[in-house]
Symmetry: C2
Subunit: 234 residues, 2 copies
DNA sequence: ACCTGAACACCGTTCAAGT
DNA sequence: ACCTGAACACCGTTCAAGT
C-alpha cells in the first residue's frame, strides 16, 4: 500500500470532489443546465471558484462526473429480466426515466462520447447482446444501434425540457404548442408532419420509446436468423 | 399582394438574414461550434453585433437557421429509391454524411426539437413510412424511432469531432485514443466494453450506421406482419 | 496541500444615438 | 427602416497570495 487514508481531515465538511459533484447535481436539478455555474456552485459550497479547480479539471469534467453518478445508479438498479431482451428493455427504460428526472443528463451524455458513463451503458447492453448469441463481429453494430437510439431519445427529451424551462412553461405545454404549430404547417409541403400533429399530442412518450427498442431488438434477432440460414444453405 | 418587393436596396451587399446565415455556416465549418460568435460574425460581415440582431432574434435562432440550410439541401438531394425502405436508407445516409461534413449540425439539431429542420426530416421519413403501409396509429412510433436513431448517431459524431477539435487532433486519432482507453478498462468490471475496443478501431462508421437503420426497418416490418396475422387469426 | 478572491479574456444581448 | 458601437451583466479559467 503506497497510498494511505488521509489522517484527520482538516474539517468535517471540507471540500472534496464528491461534495462538489453532489452540489452540482442539486444545482442542475433545481435550475437546469444553465444553473450550473462556478460562481453559483462556489457560493453553495461557501468557497471561491478557484477552490473547485483544485478538485475538478474543468466544467465538462464536472458535467461528466455528475452524469456518471446518475448513470451508475441507474445501471446498478436495473433488474435482470427473464431474457436478455427483457433486461435490455429494463435498462433502456431506466435510462429513459433517469433522463426524464434529470434532463441535463441527456445533453451531458451527448457531449461525453466514450467517457465513463457511456462505458457503463455499453457494458450493460453489451453483456445482454452477448447473451442473445449475437456473433462477435456483429456485436458492435447491435450495441451501438441501441446506444445511439437511447442517446437520441434522451437528447430530444432533454432539449424539450430545457426549451420549456427557458420559456418558463411546463414540458407538456411546450409539446402542446409544438403540436399546434405542426398542425398549421403548409398542407402541400408537409402533409405528413401535419397529419402527425394529432398523434404528437396524444402519444405516450415512454411506450413509443420502448417500441423503438423493440424494433431494434427484433431487427437484431431477424438478422441472426438470416445469418443462421446462410450457414445452413451455403 | 400586400407586401411588395423592396425597391432599390440601399447597397448591393447590404445585410440580410441570408447573408448572415451563409457567413455563420462558413464560420461554423471553419472554426467549429465555438467559432460562431456575434463578434466574429459581425467582423466578417463588416458591421457591429447590434446589426445582426435586427435580422436574427438570438443565437439559437441563428444556429437553427444554419442547420436548416444544410438539412433542406440534404433532403432535397435525396434520391428516391426503388422501395420506401431504400429511400429511407438514402435519406438517412444523406443525413449521416451531412453531419459528418458539418458536425455542428449534429448538436444544433439536438437542441432544436420540433423546429423546421426536424420537420423536414420527419416529412421525408414519414412519407416513406406511410408508403410502407404502416398503419396510421403506428406511424409516429416508427418515424420517431428512425429520427431518434439518426439524431443519436449524429450527436455522437458531432461530439467526437468537437472533442478532437478542442484537442487539436483529428477525429480518427481521437477515436484511436478512445479505443486504447477502452482496452485498458478493468477486466473484471467492464469485460464487454474492453473486448469491444478492437472492433471500435476497425469498424466502419457508415456501415454500422446503416446496419442500425436496417435493424429498425426490419423491426417495423416484422411488427406489421405480426399485426396482419392478428387480424387474420382473431 | 488546499483555499481565497481578484483579475483576465471572453461571451450574448441591449439600447441610445445616428443615417 | 436599418445600422453603429459602447455598455451591461454575465461567463470559465488562472494565479499570486495566503494558511
Amino acid at each position: 500500500m503506497v497510498t494511505k487514508a488521509r489522517s484527520t481531515p482538516r474539517r468535517e465538511d471540507s471540500l472534496s470532489r464528491d461534495r462538489i459533484i453532489d452540489a452540482s447535481i442539486e444545482l442542475l436539478d433545481s435550475s437546469g443546465e444553465g444553473g450550473l455555474t462556478f460562481r453559483a456552485l462556489s457560493e453553495r459550497l461557501a468557497t471561491g471558484p478557484g477552490a473547485i479547480y483544485w478538485h475538478i479539471a474543468h466544467k465538462s469534467d464536472l458535467l461528466t462526473a455528475a452524469s456518471d453518478t446518475i448513470i451508475a445508479r441507474t445501471v446498478a438498479a436495473t433488474v435482470v429480466g427473464a431474457t436478455p431482451q427483457a433486461t435490455i428493455r429494463a435498462l433502456a427504460l431506466g435510462m429513459f426515466d433517469a433522463i426524464d428526472a434529470h434532463p441535463w443528463v441527456g445533453s451531458a451524455l451527448a457531449s461525453a462520447p466514450g467517457q465513463l458513463p457511456i462505458v457503463r451503458i455499453v457494458e450493460g447492453i453489451g453483456q445482454q447482446v452477448h447473451a442473445m448469441g449475437v456473433p462477435d463481429r456483429q456485436q458492435w453494430a447491435a450495441v451501438s444501434a441501441l446506444l445511439s437510439y437511447i442517446l437520441g431519445v434522451g437528447g430530444q427529451n432533454a432539449a424539450n425540457s430545457q426549451f420549456a424551462r427557458t420559456q418558463g412553461i411546463h414540458r407538456a405545454d411546450f409539446l402542446q404548442g409544438l403540436s399546434t404549430a405542426w398542425s398549421q404547417l403548409d398542407a402541400a409541403e408537409y402533409p405528413f408532419a401535419r397529419s402527425l400533429a394529432g398523434q404528437m399530442r396524444t402519444h405516450d412518450d415512454r411506450a413509443d420509446f420502448l417500441a423503438g427498442i423493440d424494433f431494434i431488438l427484433s431487427g437484431i434477432a431477424s438478422q441472426q436468423s438470416r445469418l443462421a440460414k446462410n450457414v445452413v444453405t451455403t
